[in-house]
């Protein structure tokens, strides 16, 4: 069953794109293989998996031209994601939307286009799988069906990547997935001069929960804490389980003050209500270390180490509290 139309929920769409944590990742063979197959089967010179970010289209894979992104305003695929069916442009020079587009008037001289929206299970169009020709062309129904099939394969690859980055117990990202996302956020923040912060939190006396009430109770505690965190986070924030009972939150475009305020809300939320662990109400708390991305931090390891240091200050300070800093300031 089709989800309700979310073509006008741009914030939700961008948040969904962030959850896939794929922007600015390295080329991957499965996606490259599919764009090559599209090019071969449809006989077009250019094929791409295009993902539409806030102000750009970024290519997870592209064959036929050597470019990794363009501005969103000249992107054909940004039009394709406004709908839930294929978009075909038989001759761009005859289409008022595209006739003066620099990709039509100049290199790579696009004349015809077929784009299939890449729709997530929850109904957001992340981007499009597209076939591009430099000649006018009408794609027939059987070719559109082939493209739709390839788009389904692309989407399944995206889903597979996301499952591999998800912790089965809590639904948070795995440590590896979270670290990779944090690496990209560091690069992005340095490139654009934007703020970013992380919060690390560790469940207090978690070993005692496991020892006294058993591992199922411990698992329930971790699940509930992850859910309480998710409920309090923005769609763009990324929650990861980076250790047994340790979580990390990546906060793009958030300064130290904003991160500290959020951490305090998380702390209060976790402590406010007991966790139902198989009928046993358990009071749990967590300790927090908050670290903004200062000038001296260049790697995720350094960022986590700084936040971990603050976390252990919070532990030493009596637990169920927050400690924050901006390194280098």
């Amino acid at each position: 069953m089709r989800n309700s139309d979310k073509s006008h929920d741009e914030l939700g769409r961008i948040a969904a794109l962030r959850r896939y944590a794929i922007l600015d990742t390295a080329p991957e063979e499965p996606f490259d293989k599919l764009t090559q197959l599209v090019r071969d089967v449809l006989g077009v010179p250019i094929a791409a998996v295009s993902l539409i970010d806030t102000e750009r289209q970024w290519f997870k894979s592209i064959t036929g031209v050597s470019v990794c992104e363009t501005s969103r305003e000249i992107s054909f695929c940004s039009h394709a994601i406004q709908r839930h069916e294929p978009m075909m442009i038989p001759d761009a020079t005859l289409d008022a939307r595209f006739a003066s587009n620099p990709l039509v008037a100049g290199e790579p001289l696009i004349r015809s286009y077929l784009g299939i929206p890449l729709t997530t299970p929850d109904g957001y169009n992340l981007g499009a799988l597209c076939a591009i020709d430099t000649q006018p062309r009408h794609f027939d129904a059987s070719q559109i069906a082939v493209m739709q099939s390839f788009a389904n394969l692309v989407l399944n690859e995206l889903e597979l990547r996301q499952i591999a980055m998800s912790d089965g117990l809590t639904g948070a990202m795995t440590r590896r997935g979270w670290v990779e996302a944090a690496e990209r956020e560091i690069a992005r923040a340095k490139r654009h001069g934007t703020e970013a912060s992380i919060i690390v939190l560790d469940v207090d006396h978690f070993k005692l929960v496991n020892d006294v009430y058993g591992h199922p109770a411990g698992d329930a505690v971790l699940r509930v804490i992850a859910q309480r965190c998710r409920d309090a986070l923005r769609d763009s924030d990324l929650l990861g389980r980076i250790g047994g009972e340790e979580f990390a939150v990546l906060l793009p475009e958030t300064d130290a003050r904003g991160a500290a305020e959020l951490a305090e809300r998380l702390r209060a939320t976790i402590a406010a209500a007991p966790v139902d662990a198989g009928g046993i109400p358990l009071r749990v708390t967590a300790s927090f270390g908050i670290c903004a991305l200062g000038d001296r931090i260049r790697t995720v390891e350094a960022w986590l180490a700084a936040a971990d240091g603050l976390l252990y200050e919070a532990k030493a300070g009596g637990r169920n509290c927050c400690r924050s800093a901006v390194p280098g300031q």
């Binding site: 059987s142 739709q148 099939s149 394969l153 597979l160 591999a164 089965g168």
Partner: protein
């Protein structure tokens, strides 16, 4: 080409996946992939591609997924062991 032939092509391409010890979290992905490959094989046939070419395309599409699946299985195992 019949749909039965498409099913045979997809079953042959997917056969190596049956040997993997797949975590439950990935089972649905494999089922979706099989369904997507079947739709692809049928649509290629309707587009008039010859059978050997369809088999090659389905094999290639499945091979790249297989590599990614192995990486996903290893990533999940690594995380579970941490």
């Amino acid at each position: 080409m019949t749909e039965t032939y498409s099913q045979e092509v997809v079953a042959a391409a997917m056969q190596p996946l049956a040997e993997f010890d797949v975590p439950p979290a990935l089972q649905a992905s494999i089922e979706r992939h099989g369904q997507a490959l079947l739709t692809l094989a049928v649509s290629l046939a309707r587009a008039g591609l010859p059978e050997p070419e369809i088999r090659t395309i389905v094999d290639q599409a499945c091979a790249s997924y297989r590599d990614e699946l192995i990486a996903a299985i290893l990533a999940l195992r690594e995380h579970d062991e941490e």
